[in-house]
Amino acid sequence: MREITFLKAINEALAEEMRRDKTVYLIGEDIGVFGGCFGVTKGLLEEFGPERVRDTPLVETAIIGTSVGAAMTGMRPVPEIMFTGFLGTCMDEIYNQAAKIKYMTGGKAKVPLTIRTTYGGGMSAAAQHSERNEAWLVHAPGIKVVLPSTPYDAKGLLKASIRDDNPVLFEEHKMLYPVKGEVPEDECAIPLGKADIKREGSDVTVVATGLMVHRALKAAKELKGDGIDTEIIDPRTLSPLDKDTILKSVQKTGRAIVVSEDCKTCGITAEISAIIAEEGFDHLKAPVKRVAAPDVPMPFSPVLEKWCMPDESRILDAVKSIMK
């Protein structure tokens, strides 16, 4: 199978969905001539024109707010918010409007929109451009939250998100953009709400998303040398969460480690650990362990940032200690 980058996979998903459905349009800051802050929307203006690849002034509130109105009246907007750190500027439109309208109207209105945004550390962008706040919106019923880890998943899940009749927050890890992987040329939409087993194993379950999946895979390679067989589960969508796949894996291995780049307190690791404790306790041979960032905003200096982000060695340590 051909290999393309994570970035190219997203670009292809956008182009293909715009070709198949003329109600799909992109809206955001610097997505047109500039091709997006990271180059994700490059070439789309040329193919689809400025009406459907709609550059805006600095108006995050209106980017999401107008997308809600357009979605309610027959369109499928795909707004881009450059960094998750900017979600605060349009949180009312996401949390109070997009996520709640369907419910508040007793199901009468639908809001099919996909908010694309970038998240995570790794490029010394400091605290307002390296946010990991997916848990905010996992905590908001009514909006789906998707965090792909591979080019295949990125393309397939983005296509499914755009076709979904609900609001979706689609988070792209900045450090994954250049990562290459196999992506088929033909149709490849992946249903939302289904976890993927990134590596099968029998001794310990590691649950991770985004960049952390890659770090867990590296750790698993090394652990194999020590005779430890690691299973890696990537939920891919955090809301809705595929509990069954996680619990089935824990039933098999009896041990669970939950990894996230997010802060530990009330982050996604807290929820997943609680589910395992509540619904899979009888299978556990050891207490659930969490590998997460400390409860500080992401620092700037490369040394400090690296220290804050969970890496292979921390995942290794956690696995070794849970196997004792």
Binding site: T61, N96, M104, T105, A109
Partner: protein, 333 residues
């Protein structure tokens, strides 16, 4: 006015009366404990909603405010489903999940009342963008208040609508108070010092966005109708948005039970003399007899009573229904 024809004019009058009787009844029911939550009464502001919506087609859109029962009625909203929703019943517009502040009827172009001020502004602007992208000749109306014009979404929405020439009419229902904050204290003005009579118009803000801004007497339904009609014509012909400020006054408190310590009783009495319904009634004397007026009033009261009966007799939702309507199954083919 005559060129509109009797049917249209009488229809407008009826809608104002229906809205007034509905709201009076709702206030009563709230006092009796029948309607839970908050009630933001629109009594006194009927001319803005009716004048505006009478200039629209059924397929045009509106976003309504938290004080928007009159806006719904003016856009054709069904009183029985409204009342049932205010009761929290299963048969209400929102199956009891929204209540007074979230009444919505997408089929009638009513994209919802909203509990966040002024969240309807970007939503109606988005409906305007959708109209442009779908290449129809619909228009979108955004109702909001003087208070809402101070928040950021107002700025972002009007700026975008102007640069993209969106078919949106921003209708500011200026009732002079944002809860307790008088607009004289809340809206900057180069002319005024605090509390003086030199209050800058909200419509003056339109000049910052390169769109026409007009202030009209919001208690004069014909003035609202004519001004909004002009704005609708502009929007339909692709000339872009307009800001229409309608000066009016709410007779009741911000919510039912508001002690209204922030305004003088005399001020309210002065505004009651400018009752938009009494005023329009005088203008219609050539068309309708006293008996006609009485019948219209009686019909409105009966319609409200039927709505109450419908709400009273409707079933409550079952507890587990709280889990429904969160997500839509499926999606685009």
């Amino acid at each position: 006015m005559e060129e509109l024809g009797k049917e249209k004019l009488v229809g407008m009058y009826k809608t104002m009366v229906r809205s007034r009787r509905f709201e009076e009844k709702v206030c009563d029911l709230f006092a009796q404990g029948k309607c839970p939550g908050f009630i933001h009464s629109s009594i006194g502001q009927e001319a803005v909603a009716v004048g505006t919506c009478s200039a629209l087609r059924k397929d045009d859109y509106i976003t309504a405010t938290h004080r928007g029962h009159h806006e719904l009625i003016a856009k054709g909203g069904h009183m029985d489903k409204m009342m049932a929703e205010l009761y929290g019943k299963k048969t209400g517009y929102n199956k009891g999940k929204g209540g007074s502040m979230h009444l919505t009827d997408v089929d009638l172009g009513i994209l919802g009342m909203n509990g966040i001020v002024p969240a309807g502004l970007p939503i109606s602007t988005g409906a305007g963008l959708s109209i442009k992208l779908r290449e129809t000749d619909q228009v979108s109306v955004s109702f909001f208040g003087d208070g809402g014009s101070n928040r950021g979404p107002f700025h972002e929405s009007l700026n975008l609508a102007s640069i993209w020439k969106l078919p949106v009419i921003y209708v500011c229902e200026n009732n002079m108070y944002a809860i307790s904050m008088p607009q004289a204290f809340g809206i900057s003005s180069k002319m005024s010092s605090y509390g003086s009579q030199n209050i800058q118009d909200v419509s003056a803000r339109a000049s910052a966005y390169g769109m026409p801004g007009v202030t009209v007497d919001g208690n004069d339904v014909m003035a609202v109708y004519e001004t909004v009609s002009e704005a609708v014509k502009r929007a339909r012909s692709g000339e872009g948005p307009t800001l229409v400020e309608c000066k009016t006054y709410r007779w009741k408190g911000h919510f039912e039970g508001d002690p209204m310590v922030y305004r003088a009783r005399e001020e309210l009495e002065e505004w009651k003399k400018k009752d938009p319904i009494t005023r329009f009634r005088k203008q219609l004397r050539g068309f309708l007899s006293e008996a006609d007026f009485e019948r219209i009033d009686k019909d409105a009261k009966e319609e409200v009573e039927r709505a109450v009966k419908f709400a009273e007799e409707s079933p409550w939702p079952e507890g587990p229904e709280a889990l429904e309507d969160l997500y839509t199954e499926g999606g685009a083919e």
